[in-house]
Amino acid sequence: MASSNAEKATDQLNKSSNALNNVMMPTTKTKTKLLKRDLMVLCLRVLAVLATASATIVMALNKQTKSFVVATIGNNPIKVSITAKFNHTPAFVFFVIANGNACLHNLVMIAMDLFGSKFDYKGLRLALIAILDMMIVALAAAGDGAATFMSELGKNGNSHAQWNKICDKFEPYCNRGAAALASSFAGIILLLIITGMSIIKLLKPNRINDIVP
């Protein structure tokens, strides 16, 4: 009699502890879903690093020298060589600086994602990542806008202000600039998606990986 009571008691104890386990442990389904989101942000950041880095490097190394015949004295043509470099235009300098900053920021964020789970201050980490991402998106957008319209001016000129186009004479320079611009447009779309996902992370923080007070 006493043993059956004891058995019943241990049975009940086992059942309740099992029930408690089911409540306390997170299910594997939610665990993998949240980690998938983190992995996607990491992949997007790597792609954004590649896009902005290529935009920076292609624009920074953009240079073309061409010699023009100015006059002819007798049988000798007088040649003048003109160089087109990216730092002749302040808009392109800003473009290089903005994309370089975006590349460095994403590299730092990747490093923080992989190695820096311990650094936190009262749950400020997610908010700081989102705010910095927004600032970098704004900076990259400004750089893109300025460089786009400056290169449009170089390609089409402006007849009202008597500004001649330069792309017909410096075609490789213009083509390389266009490639850098296209790469930075891809980079900014990626940056926008990354910022959106960082803001979503604020709504639903991953309580396993991100430290939540």
Partner: protein
């Protein structure tokens, strides 16, 4: 407390709406005519694609700002408004930057490309455009502040409440 917050938010949004509207109006009315009959030369904002983009982007953001001001405070659409705020702030910043870069070429010229500055000849037009760009810069700053404020009130980044942010609670 929430009423004060709501009023502060509305004041910010109204300031942003006013800034974008004024930049549209000032840029669209910038016009100068040189010369004499029948040889006129017009300096208008439509001469430059960058200024056209500036006007279009700022008018889009003006319409958006007007509709957001009418949104009731308890609706769940405020989370969507945060995302839209980000996109429109990005649009504003890129348009302002483009217009400033073209205005810089107009004011200082570009010696390497052989582009002469035009501000010496159309001084009034230049000043008018400068005013529009200043209004655009104010709009950009206010939108960035609004973005931070939206994230603070709607999304609760400092995790002050237990169940995440409720709009205007």
């Amino acid at each position: 407390m929430s009423k004060v917050k709501r009023i502060a938010h509305l004041v910010l949004r109204f300031l942003a709406f006013g800034a974008t509207l004024s930049s549209v109006i000032v840029m669209a009315t910038s016009h100068e005519r040189l010369g004499f009959f029948p040889f006129y030369y017009d300096a208008k904002y439509t001469n430059t694609p960058a200024f056209k983009y500036f006007v279009i982007a700022n008018s889009v953001v003006t319409v958006y700002g007007f509709f957001v001001m009418l949104l009731p405070p308890k609706s769940l659409l405020w989370r969507f408004v945060v995302a839209l705020d980000l996109v429109f702030a990005m649009l504003l910043i890129s348009s302002e930057s483009a217009a400033v870069s073209i205005a810089y070429v107009g004011k200082k010229g570009n010696a390497y490309a052989g582009w002469l500055p035009i501000c010496g000849q159309v001084q009034n037009y230049c000043d008018h455009v400068t005013g529009a760009l200043v209004a655009g810069l104010a709009a950009v700053i206010i939108y960035v502040i609004l973005l931070m404020y939206s994230i603070h009130t709607v999304l609760d980044p400092f995790l002050l409440t237990k169940h995440g942010g409720c709009p205007h609670s």
